[in-house]
Structure formats: C-alpha cells, structure tokens
Amino acid sequence: MNQIWNIARKEFSDGLRNRWMLAISVVFALLAVGIAWFGAAASGQIGFTSIPATIASLASLATFLMPLIALLLAYDAIVGEDEGGTLMLLLTYPISRGQILLGKFVGHGMILGLATLIGFGCAAVAIAVLVPEIELAMLVWAFTRFIVSSTLLGLVFLALAYVLSSRAAEKSSAAGLALGLWFLFVLVFDLALLAVLVISEGTFSPEALPWLLLLNPADIYRLINLAGFESSSSTVGVMALAGDLPVSSAVLWGCLVAWVVASLALAHWMFARRTA
C-alpha cells in the first residue's frame, strides 16, 4: 500500500511540475464556460440556455477530449520508463509490478480527477453566480454526475494506455497505438455501428444492437450523461439507440467501472509478461 503511494506521489508531483494539471484544468474551465454561454449560438441565442443542454454539449465534447488527455498522460508510463532505463532499476527494488502499475494509476488518476474537478467545477460556480434563478440543486447534481463520470471515463483510458504502454517496444509506437485507440473508440466505433445498422437493413437483431454500445466506454459515458434528463432532445446518431436499452443508470455506471477494472487487469497481465 505504501509502495503504491510512493509511486503515486511521484507521478502526481510530475504532473504538477510539468504543468499538465494546470493545462488540463484551464482547458476544461475555458471550454465549459464557453459552451455554457455560447453553446446555443448556432440556434441564434447567446447566453446560458438550460442545464440539460449545457451538460449535453459538455458531455459530447468531453467524449472526445477526456480519452485523448488520458491517453496522452499515460501512454509512456511503462515504455517510457523502460526506454529511460529507470524501469529496470525500479524492478530491483522491493516493489511488485502490480504496485508500480497501481501507483501510476493512482497518481495519474489524481491529476485527471483534480483537473476535471477544478476545470468543470469553476464553470459550475460561474453558472451558479452569474445565471439568475438557477436551480442550484439541479446544477450541483448534474455537474457532480458529469464530473464523476468524466473522471471515470478518463480512468478507463488511463488503464487502456497502460495496456498499450506495457505492450509497446518503443515510446513512438505506444503513441501511435494510443492515437489509434482513441480513433477507434471515439469515431470508428459509432460509425461502424451505424453502418451495421444500415447495411443489415433490420436483419440484425434490433434488440441486440443497443447492447453493443456497452462495448464502448465513450458511449457508456454519453448514455450516463444524456439519459439523465427526460427531455433530451439532442440525442442523435447512435445515441438514439439508447432509448431501446432497458437498463438503469446504475448498470451503466457499473459497466464503466467494469471497464476500468478489466483494462487494469489486462494492463497488469501485459506488464507481467514484459521482460525487464
């Protein structure tokens, strides 16, 4: 336990030192405030519209950004130490590979979680202060759910980055794999799903299709944040399938957590196989 914390505190202070945390927080805060006030500009309005609309816009943005940031933060976690020569030294210390991996996960997770909390938290505070007659309880509830689920999504992709990092022989190939993974889950997966839907012309069991969304953590994340509001009018694309998904939000949360655990387990397995 102590050893996990020793690794985590180094990763965390690295994140503070190289200003990763500051950069992520500022980006999130600026985007959140921007979206809250100008998100409806396309429909001719300027200014805050509603909490559901804001959260929906923020969620579709975070679906792209969160995985990318998590992958960037962690893609070189293992292969970088190997190339730098510190992994071999670390492995001669009284610390197990599992502890190294978990330590990095906790450290990176703290950076990501805190940056998300600070960035989006600032936006929530700005809305609470500047928008008159806002439903405070609703705002807090919606943003809490949004921040926690965003962090969870980030954790999934941190763990996936460790899988790549444990597998890759070189840092550059880990970066390439990370980019590919991001592309797959954020863009290709939904397109492929729509293609299956269109090409099969209904021969593919329509009941089974929504369940496929659970195979993509980014889609689970969007479901969590969009399904929370009864009058979500902004459900487009594959999200429209979600209406057929007879599961409660607890199950969705459970699926996201399962993604974290399964990815970490896979990363540990990969790391254990890596020769020092």
Binding site: K10, D14, G84, G85, M88, L89, T92, I95
Partner: protein, 303 residues
C-alpha cells in the same frame, strides 16, 4: 552463510545458452570481480542474483533466500551499467524517491549526497548532470538502506581518477563493515587491488575463479623481470624464456614463476643499476583465460 550461491545454473535465451553450468559463491564481506568479454554472461548473472530473471535450471540463493523476494531486495544495492534517472527530478528528489521505495531512512539521503560529493548539485535537475555525476548519484542510490550485498556493474565508467579512487575507498570501507560486493568491470588494472577473488566468464562458461594468487599458480604465466644497465649476454640463461630491450638501459625477461627467485638472485649478483619484478597482472590472466576459452575476438551482443 554465503551472500550469493549459484549451483549449476543454466540460462537460456531462446535456443542460445547464455550461462552454461555456472557454480559460484560469494562469502560475506568478500569482494568478487566478475570479468568477461561483452556477452559473456556477466549481466545475466547479475540479473539472476537480482531476481529479474529465473534460471532455466539450477539454483540461485541470495542472502539465504530466493532472489526477487521483497525482503531480499531490500538488502541489495545495485548500480546498473550506464545508470539513468528521471531527468526532471533533482538529485536529492531522486534519492528521496528511491529511499522511500527501499524503506531506507530519509536522513541517509543527505549523508549519501555528501559522501559522493553531490551536496552542492543536489538541488539541480538530473538532466543537467554530467555522466560522472549521474554515476555518483547511481552509487549513492545503490548504498541506500545499507545493503548487505552490493552489485556494481561498470561502476567507474565516466568517473575521473580522483572519483574512481574515492569509489574504491568506499568499496574498501563497506567490505570492512561486512558488505559482500560484486564488481563487473572492464577496467582490470583499476579493480585489481580491491578484489578478493576474480571470476572469469567466457562464452557463458566460468573459465576460472579464485584469488589472484590461485589464478596465477593455476595459469603459470611467466613473471616479468626488468633489469637496468646489463647486456643481453649477461642476462641470458637457460631458464629465461625471452628477453626484449625496453627504452634506455632497460631489458625485460620472462621467466616461469618457479624460476623467479633464482633469476632475481643471479641478476643481483651482476649488480644492475635497477631491478623490477612484475607478477602477471589481472589483465594478463584475463587474456590467458580468454585465449584458453577460444573467446578472443568475441564481441557478444549486449542482452
């Protein structure tokens, strides 16, 4: 109890035997020099002792336990070849990090920085360090937690002559305190005075192991005797294997170790201006055993 024991260790990478039936032991408080050409199996041996590798067959015991156990690792200090650290951390932060991981007293960090002469540079980032400074930091890292077994892979690379002497002084002091030490090095003249025993690896086999005295009597290499102010005719004798002129008035004779004393006595009676006697050096012995193993000119790939 021996600090390190290898029994009939056989190590394979793919279909290639990297270590072939190695048996070797290191007593407590002993300094063992581990020598061999590139790819001879030195680094593999060190990795086996550290528990980074499992022997394909054979048994490795370290400090009475199995290598790789946390309790055993806590008592081992390791300085890898070409040691590198996190470039963004300062020297002090680096040592603090590793001290925590090893469960060493944090107060030890400043003592060690002082000991390796890095106190002034301790708050500078490691990326600004010279190779010699990194090497000193590596040594300080290896000494964290007062290890009972120290493994040093090419410890003097990048060190200036003064720092090299200081390193050997540290090694001597640790040995006196009962620390067992393994040194891998290619700088044979440098380590020669500081090792208790030498082990010579060639092509994955242990060619020789013993004190320098034992290796010399085993190899029976000729002794060099240098005399000044005498002619070749005066120096010649049936037991002299070879004579060659050196600079000035000097000549060098090669004689078998058993003829050494008689030859010296004979030359002294000729009243030379000066006389030097050189037993075969570690380097001579090393070359001899490499030749025996047919490993001359072998340049293995570093694993």
């Amino acid at each position: 109890m021996n600090a390190v024991e290898l029994h009939n260790v056989y190590q394979q990478y793919g279909s290639m035997a990297v270590l072939d039936n190695i048996s070797l032991s290191l007593a407590e408080g002993e300094v063992l020099g581990l020598f061999g050409h590139n790819g001879a199996g030195k680094t593999t041996t060190v990795r086996l002792i550290l528990g980074l590798l499992q022997a394909t067959t054979g048994e490795v015991r370290v400090l009475g336990g199995t290598p790789g156990e946390s309790d055993i690792r806590r008592q081992i200090g390791f300085l890898p070849e070409n040691v590198t650290f996190y470039p963004q951390l300062t020297g002090r932060e680096t040592l603090l990090h590793f001290a925590r991981l090893k469960g060493a007293a944090v107060q030890q960090v400043d003592d060690l920085l002082e000991q390796v002469g890095l106190t002034a540079a301790s708050s500078k980032r490691v990326k600004t360090y010279s190779k010699g400074m990194r090497q000193r930091l590596g040594l300080a890292q290896a000494l964290l937690g007062r290890p009972r077994l120290l493994l040093l892979d090419e410890p003097t690379v990048g060190l200036d002559p003064i720092a090299t002497q200081e390193l050997y002084q540290v090694i001597g002091r640790l040995r006196d305190e009962g620390t067992s030490i393994v040194i891998c090095s290619h700088v044979l003249p440098g380590v020669e005075p500081y090792i208790d025993r030498a082990a010579v690896l060639a092509l994955g086999r242990l060619e020789a192991v013993g004190t320098l005295h034992e290796l010399r009597s085993q190899a029976q290499l000729p002794v060099r005797i240098r005399a000044a102010g005498l002619t070749v005719a005066q120096l010649s004798a049936p037991e002299v294997q070879a004579i060659r002129p050196l600079h000035g008035v000097w000549h060098e004779l090669l004689v078998a170790p058993m003829d050494k004393l008689a030859t010296v006595q004979r030359i002294l009676q000729l009243q030379p201006q000066d006389l030097e006697v050189q037993p075969p050096s570690l380097e001579d012995l090393y070359c001899y055993y490499m030749e025996q193993a047919g490993a001359l000119g072998v340049a293995g790939v570093q694993q």
